[in-house]
Amino acid sequence: MGFVHLHVHSCFSLLEGAAPLEQLTETAAGLGMRALALTDHDGLYGAVRFHAAARSVGLKPIIGVELTVEPVAGTLSGDTHLVVLAQDNEGYRNLCQLVTAARLRDCRRCGPFAAEFQHLDRKRPLLTQQQLQRHASHLIALSGCGRGEIAQWLQAGDTMRAEKVAQYYRGLFGPGDFYIELQHLLLPPPQQHLRYKLADLAYRLGLPMVATNDVHYVTPDYARVQDVLLCIRHNKSVDEKVPERKVNHEYWLKPPEEMGRLFADLPQALRTTEEIAERCNWELDLDRLHLPRFALEAVDPKRCGHYPPPEPGEDSRWYLRRLCYAGARWRYGEISAEVGKRLEYELQVIEARNLSDYFLIVWDLVRFARSRGIRATGRGSAGDALVSYVLDITQADPLAHDLLFERFLNPERRGMPDIDVDFCSRRRDEVTAYVYERYGVDQVAAVCTLNTFRARAAVREVGKALGMDQAEIASLAKALPHMNATRLEEAARQLPELRDGPVDLRDKGLLLELCRQISGFPRHLSVHVGGLVIGAQPLTQLMPLEVAKKGIVIGAFDKDDIEALGLMKMDILGLRIHTAIADCLEHIATRTGRELDLESIPLDDAATFKLLRSTQTVGLFQLESPGQRNLLGRAQPREFEEIIANISLFRPGPVQADMIQPYLRRKHGLEPITYLHPALEPILRRTYGVIIYQEQVLQVAAAIAGFSLGQGDLLRRAMTSDRSPREMEALRAQFVEGAIGRGVDRYVANRIFDAIAGFAAYGFNKAHAACFGRIAYQTAYLKAHYPAEFLAGILSAQPMGFYPPRTIAEEAKRLGVRILPPCVNRSEQRFTVESIAPENGQERPKPVSPTGPKGGKGLGIRYGLSFLHGMSEAAVASILRARAERPFSSLRDFCQRTNVPRPMVENLILAQAFAFTGKTPAELLWSLAAMPAAEVADRRGYRGVQTLDFAEGECLDRLLPPLDPETAHGRVNLDLHLLGLSTGRHPFSFWRRELRQQGVVTSANIYRYRDGDRVRVAGIVVARARPPTRSGKTAVFISLEDETGLVDVACFEETYQRYGRIIVGSPVLFVEGKLVRQGALDISVTADAVLPLGAWGEATAQNPQDTVPTAARAFASKNWGR
């Protein structure tokens, strides 16, 4: 007998279902079923994927939802469920409306952030009967599981009410569209008698019956995963009672034969499943793009800038053309034949794909940002299009950098192009609000991200559910790298930080196995960093909406689903470097009166390239990581094109494919530049014969095999995705055939194919690198010429980049810029720049760095008030307001005129914000303590702020003596706690004498050593990276900071296996190893031994007389020399 499962929960019934979609559809198809329904709880999160998965195995997908509905016949103790299936696409639209109504309740949307959503109970969706009545057409309803209202009344012995509910739903959905659902889940008596009561009711009322199994997992071995998920959901352990937990393990995808056995006494209920499956015909419209129309009439001429406003009667195609030609004249002056031809070609492709509105929407958004002075730049493959460049969306000239339109929008491939735009992160919300205003709240929603279980989250949550020791779980989760939970068992064997860690994993088999099973399951929804979906019609026609935290309405499909549905997604991303640059430009204008236009700075500025070659790039966009600094030192760039190459080369792919070595060797003339065919020379000349960019793959395919660039892009994509050897051979044959036709030797053609096949997977999108390269160059220019202003901007935009504020501040000091403590009379909300007059014969600080920029001399960065530990926005506003009237004359004056609570005043005192009074912090603290309560605001209303809460203090505590503002040590320690950086000495400077005795070299002096010398270095870990390597072995790269700068340390497999736990877990390290010198400024240490310096500090603190601490002795006992 045939049977179709019509009540099925996948893992998209979040924290309840334990069935991965692919496993569900493949198993159902394998069991000979011809259809399968998906009925997740109050959501359609899996709908798009389910549709694709079912179709791929020849199953008919039926989409439905198990809704939580308001009871009809009276109050019940728990939720009541109802299963609804879409009969057709209209039914699907109703499902979207119903889920949205259940999740948004009666709240009205009025913008991106609606205050009333913040009070919505997001975890308890509930559909009112009124809302259900509004969208009940084109649906088939099943009475639900044991939590269905009819079942609940029957179990309560109230047959009358059960009948009333059944009659109500029959009336609502129609006589043939409401079914009594029977389940035989082998429940213990008396629960198992429920199905007979339901069948009896169905007979009495003449209602059809249908058999289901309330599937929650595919095979019985996932029953315990489902149990754990429920425990996680209810925040309970497996030993605790949770009413929702299942009595047995029968909720699996049973084969038709098993269902036949269970329903041998009610065979008609089985037959009905096939009848319903026959009646449900839902298809997702995946062939059309659903682009919103760009309303030309709403264009504000004032925002057009150098672009013309639309003319009456003009359509979007023609207007885009006019904009592009106007933009081309603005960019190039004269429109050359090359520009004209390329522009015309791109416009034709855009018009043929009906994408004119899309480009206008993005242009309009960028115009809005520009008109408000919000920094905005396009990124990604959009930079390959000349249209993006002339529309001022991207800033890198595609013609100058050999960027190819086909990489962005391939005429030979269906699909929605993706234009991502980065905005100043501080003002991104203004842009988002504009989108809602422009396209209407019904048609805009934030894109959601489905957060899935990865190793750390899985260990934490499963461990908690299993009732394991919390401290043990936290310690294990902390030791885990960011990885997939499926690899946990393997990692437990291989990674030293786990193997030798504090938690014995040998008896954690169940934990590891459950984590593996749960891996990749969606856990919860969150808001995508910047994605907005803009619909051509109200979004609830296509997807359900719900509310994420902070009251933001999100579409319940993630970015991949949105793309599959042909909807327009805009990534409005916040980029902190834009914020830092905006601040920097403001500081420059304030100090010098100069309005610097970064778009017109020369791209061959000598000081900028000198800075890049010096590798002092801390703070620079994309070029500050230890790996990038290392690469800059080796590459010694002298032109902008090399910056693009550097950004592209230091990526996991190129590093794994070992593309850096040949590039550098050829660049420096250490090996000859060769080409497999003369036709490759013009394509690869700029990269010395090495394929680095994806665009080059397209060009090679065109030059050698005669492919069009579009075909070349298809070839690149085919090579990038996993292909079977047979498919690869077919691609090869096509390529070689084309090459031979153009007179290329077969052997050479095969070698070129191998070369591009090897690189296609790793090559980087040059347009993206060029877009980011522009910003990277601008940051380098700013640091080279305005280091104080630039680093002040970087400090104000924290957290960002690779390094903590402490490291940025140290970098500033090395460049001769002083870090000034906060001052209630001088500090602004953010970091600012001040000119420093020499004090009483004191000299201005000199740059420590011999090679860095000199522009910072005589300047200081004043600490921003809002960054002080414990400072609230209200307190800062209060200070600035009072100060605008007149400066504070004393501590008493400050307390009387502001509402800053006492604990914050204490912090301000300790941070030297009252230094202008000429009193010491101790005196001021006494004055504050003696001040009457009426004169100082109390802490009420500022809960969470504690006086001198140093619980989160770093391990630097152990290196430094107690907090005491009167001593140099105490000053640094207080600064680190209150400000996150030191306004005076670096903490390491206090240990230099002892460190020197142990032969530890400073990072500034390491340049004096030769390649191969054995050295000892020590410092605070400021960056740690574990990139994938070609060999698959582990390599950890660490940047250590001491008082003179940064030194890079590489720990390879053997060292990592031996000291892994210390390397990964210790914040302050003492390293011994071999110096590796690959260029004048590319110096690193390959570690042989690593010790945690914290242990050393601790030992010394306990025994101050011990000048040679224990850990250092361990080093000293070893034989080494240079």
Binding site: L186, L187, P188, P189, Q192, P220, A223, R224, D227, V238, K246, V247, N248, H249, E250, R261, L466, L510
Partner: protein, 84 residues
């Protein structure tokens, strides 16, 4: 009132149904099953290594109604109750 037991069954054999026992030995005596009038399962504490137990309510040829179960992990059969 049912009498509760926790006693192992021996030599359990199956008939045509292949699901519930047709014959078993309890306390050294053979019991032949006339029919099964109920079937259910109860999950064990899997985190302690317990398997799911599959229960059958059987009526013997002697007219006894009793509940027996099999541990799905160990395969062990147990008499759990005799009903009046």
């Amino acid at each position: 009132m049912p009498q509760v037991f926790d006693e192992p069954l021996a030599q359990v054999s199956f008939g045509l149904s292949k699901i519930w026992p047709e014959c078993f030995y309890w306390r050294g005596r053979e019991h032949r099953v006339q029919g099964c009038c109920g079937e259910w399962t109860v999950a064990g504490r899997w985190w302690l290594g317990e398997g799911q137990r599959h229960f059958f309510r059987l009526v013997t040829q002697e007219g006894l109604t009793l509940d027996v179960c099999q541990d799905e992990m160990t395969g062990q059969w147990t008499l759990t109750a005799i009903l009046d």
